[in-house]
Structures are given as C-alpha cells and as structure tokens.
Amino acid sequence: MRKLKNSLITSLTWLIVIIFFFPVFWMFINAFKSEQDASAIPPTLIFEPNFSGFQRLMDRGMADYLLNSLTSSVLSTLIVLLLAIPAAYALSIRPIKKIQDVLFFFISTRFLPAAASLLPLYMIFKSLGVLDNINALSLVYAAMNLPIAVWMMRSFFNEVPMEIVEAAQIDGANFRTELIRIVLPIVLPGIAAVALICFIFSWNEYFLATLLTTSDAKTAPPFLASFVDGRGLFLGVLSAASMVAALPVLIAGWIAQKQLVRGLAMGAVK
C-alpha cells in the first residue's frame, strides 16, 4: 500500500516534470525537422532528421549575432566584476558609516524601470554615434547588473570569517595581499556564481538590445524576434534558432544549478 502510494507520487512528479519540460523538448525536436514536419498536424514524433534549419540560420548570419551576444555578455560581466568586487569587499569587510544608505541606493537603482533612464541614454548614444555599438550596449548591461552583483557579492563576502581577516591585518598584510591572498580565494565560488548570473542576464536580455542596436551590434534575442516576419512555414527554423541561442545558458545553468540558486537568492539560501 505504502509502496503503491510512493510510486503514484513519483509518477505524478514525472508527469508534471514532463509537462513543464515539454515546450523545450518540442523546440529541440522541431529544430531537427523539415518545415513541413514541424508544422504538421497532428504533430509527428517520427520524422527524418533534417538540418536545413541550421543551414538557413547560418545563411542569415546568426553567427555574427551570437558573437555580439558573447561580446556584450563577457564584456559587461568583466566590468561588473571589476567594479563590484572592491565595492562588496569594502561594504562587507571594511564597512563604513552610512553603509545602509549605499546598499539601499544600489538596490533602488534596480527597481528603476530601465526605460525611464533609457530615453536620455538613447539620445546621448545617438549624438555620440554609438547607437548600434556593442561596447555601448555592454556598458548599459554592466549598469543593469551592477546593483544586483554588489548585493550578491556582499552576501558572499559576509561569510568570510573576520578572524582570518584580522589575523592577516595583525600580521601586517597590506590591503592588496589581504584581498588577493586571503579573501578572494574564499569567495571565489561566490564570484563565479555572480559572474554566471550576470552573463545569463546579459545573454538573455531583449528589451535594451532591441532599442539600442539595429544591425551591427544586434544580439541573438532581437534576431530571434525578427525571424517571424516572413510568410510561409517557419517553425522549424525558429526552433533551431531558439535552440542555438538558448543552449549556452541552458548548459551553464544545468551544470551550476546550486551556485545559481544561492547567487539569485542573494546568499539567503545556503
């Protein structure tokens, strides 16, 4: 009886898991179908694998857009780390007066709808001639991710035992040795989690990319959205494009699930 109940619950779990995963599964399957098969009703599970979708992606220059996505994600993540590590270190290990105000300021900028500060940025970028420029987009992404990165990073720095830091200071370690030799090795997993999250947010970002880029600096998400303009059947090629664009983040997230949750929950979840 107990065994029966147990396997019933397990089956229910798997049923829900399958329902949740189904759209992603279907995207994977459709990516390898011909357009006729991808749009067939009733849907087919048995089909001849077809790679024409991927071929058409390359023909439409998806590689360039992926490269743009990669550039903006990596560049913005590096900027964020460069700014957030010292800030988080100071806020956590050498706290100053008014630290609450600084923290509040950072989190409040995250509540500000991006669109509100975007109009002047758009105008400035336009007059500087960097409206369709991947470096400019990276800067904006860095600004978008910085507040959350400071918060997450601080929660990781907070776990560094103060005794170790104090011992190093008494031994006469200067600030640089203290940061690089003592503190950074301890918080390295945390920094990796923050970097991963910033990368994911930038890679997946659609709104700013649509507004601040047009062709040269266009990233993968707006490219995907522009895919549906043609007539005729497009489900196969759309699925292929979505799959290729989403895969890097999917793989990274699958591998680093635990760090991801901890980072996103700002260290509150152990």
Partner: protein
C-alpha cells in the same frame, strides 16, 4: 606619563581609522559613480526632458512648458489600465508560481529514481532565453493552426481556442508562471532541505501526521524562503517585457507600465511627453512595488501568527 601614551595610541588609532574609511570609500566609489552616471543622471535628464515641448519632427522648436506634458499624459488615461495590468500580471504570476513551486519542491524533496534529472529538466524553463520562450509559446504552443494546445483541445473534442487573440492576458500569465515556477521551486527546495531532520523525526515519533508536520513545522520554517521568492519574483516580474512585446503587443489588458512606456517613448516622436511617461512610470512602479510587497508580507506575518 600613562595618559600621554594612551592619548598617543588613540591618535594613531583615529588616524588608521580615518585611513581605513578612506580606503573603503575609494573602493566603493567607482561602482557608485558608474551607477550614478548610467542610471541616476539619465533619470534626472528624463525629468528635465519631461518639462520640454520637444517634437522630433521640429527639432529647432524646443521650449520649456512646465507641466503640460504631465497634463497630457494624465488626460490620455492609459496610466490606470497599465497600472492594473502590471499589478494583475505580476501578482497572479507570482502567486501561481510560488504555489506551484512549493508543490513541486515538496514532490522533489523525496528520494526517487532520477531525482537529479527531474530537477534539471524542471529548471530549464527558467534558464531558457525569455525571447525564445515567448516565441516558442506563441508559435509552437498557442498558435491556432499549428499549436500543440489547439491540436490537443481538438483531439479531446473541444473547439480550438484563439489563445493569443482571445485570451492574451491568460497567455501571458501562463507563460510567466511556467517560466518562474522553476525558480521558486529551487529556492523553496533549498528551504525544505535546510530543515533539521531531527525535528521531523521527533514529530514522527510523537505521532504527528504528515500533513500536521508540514503545516506546523515545515511551513513556518519555509516562511523566510517564501518571502525571498516573492520579493525576487516581484522585482523581476514588475519589469517584464519580452512576452508582452512578442506575444500580445499589449493587447487585451496586457499593456503593462513598462510596455506602455516603450510604446510611448520609442514609437512616438514626442520626446517631452515620452519623458513625462517615464517619470510617472517610475513613480507608479515604486508605489506598486512598495504597496504590493508590504501587503504581501502582512499576509504572511498574520498567517504565521495564527
């Protein structure tokens, strides 16, 4: 003599403390300046723009008009519906995904074959690029001709539904719930797994039923995790844009504040009015966020005390 030395050491102490504070400030400053330059100053400029009469078609005729743009914004009357749309979509998606996420977290907290695989598959919707997810849902699931859901309703003998045109609000809520449930599940699962097994064993020894243990031990323990989940979900969902821009284009009660602002600012040509929309949207978002979070946590606290 002794007083002199203490005075001396305290001077040294004060000096090092000043030095330390200076170092701390120097470390925080770059991040602070970067943030201010790219977010705060543009917002101040937005406020300035909002007082100008500035049409992109007449770039030479820019003049100061006080609050005319705000009057125009309020007379259009699309702020209130957008506020309701934002509240509706955010709160429904947060509530559904937290409830579903809790249910799934409890299911996944058991030991069963393939548990790790199940968890990995389940978090995928949250990792999937939102633009890709919106496109797949729109064209592969909800489409009235080739969508799986239409085929399913017909196969089960129902009449096919024109999802995206007839039920856009529901479509957005379904898609967002699908996207955020895994995230909530992960946070709540971490909460479940942080319970001390001894307490649960003690409850079992005392003869407490599974439901009673869950209600009186697990749920109170989970409260702080639910709060984190709700807080983060609200922050992210208040500004949600992708599914609305891609699936519904703001039709059928899905025109949220962020989409309205996008429409006004980048489709129209009136810079001053767009800026006024920006300022009002920020204020409304802050009000909605504060009120929503406050009242939600009130429910939790009262529920916890009963």
């Amino acid at each position: 003599m002794t007083t002199q030395t203490t005075a001396k050491t305290s001077v040294v102490k004060v000096e090092t403390q000043v030095k330390k504070a200076r170092l701390s400030r120097a470390l925080i400053l770059p991040a602070l300046i970067f943030s201010i330059v790219l977010t705060q100053i543009p917002f101040l400029v937005t406020i300035y723009f909002s007082t100008l009469e500035w049409n992109l078609l007449k770039p030479t005729e820019i003049k100061f008009t006080w609050f005319d743009n705000y009057v125009a914004v309020f007379e259009k009357g699309d702020l209130l519906p957008a506020t309701f749309a934002t509240i509706g979509i955010t709160s429904l998606a947060v509530v559904f995904s937290v409830v579903l996420g809790l249910f799934l977290a409890v299911l996944l907290d058991r030991k069963f074959r393939g548990q790790a695989v199940a968890r990995t598959l389940l978090i995928t919707p949250f990792l999937l690029m939102p633009a890709a997810a919106s496109l797949i849902w729109k064209h592969s699931m909800f489409d009235s001709n080739v969508g799986i859901l239409s085929w399913l309703t017909e196969a089960l003998g129902g009449t096919p539904i024109q999802w995206t045109t007839d039920l856009p609000f529901l479509v957005v809520v379904i898609m967002l719930t699908w996207q955020y449930t895994p995230f909530m599940m992960l946070i709540l699962l971490a909460g479940l797994q942080s319970q001390t097994p001894e307490v649960l064993e003690a409850a079992a020894v005392d003869g407490a039923s599974a439901w009673k243990t869950f209600r009186w031990i697990t749920l109170p323990h989970l409260r702080q995790y639910v709060e984190i989940a709700v807080l983060l979900g609200t922050i992210m969902l208040l500004q949600v844009f992708d599914p609305i821009a891609i699936i519904t284009k703001g039709t059928g009660g899905t025109k949220t504040l962020s989409y309205l602002l996008y429409e006004r600012a980048f489709v129209g040509l009136n810079v001053g009015e767009a800026a006024a929309y920006g300022v009002v949207t920020v204020l409304l978002t802050i009000v909605v966020a504060t009120v929503a979070l406050r009242s939600l946590f009130k429910v939790f606290i009262e529920g916890g005390q009963r």
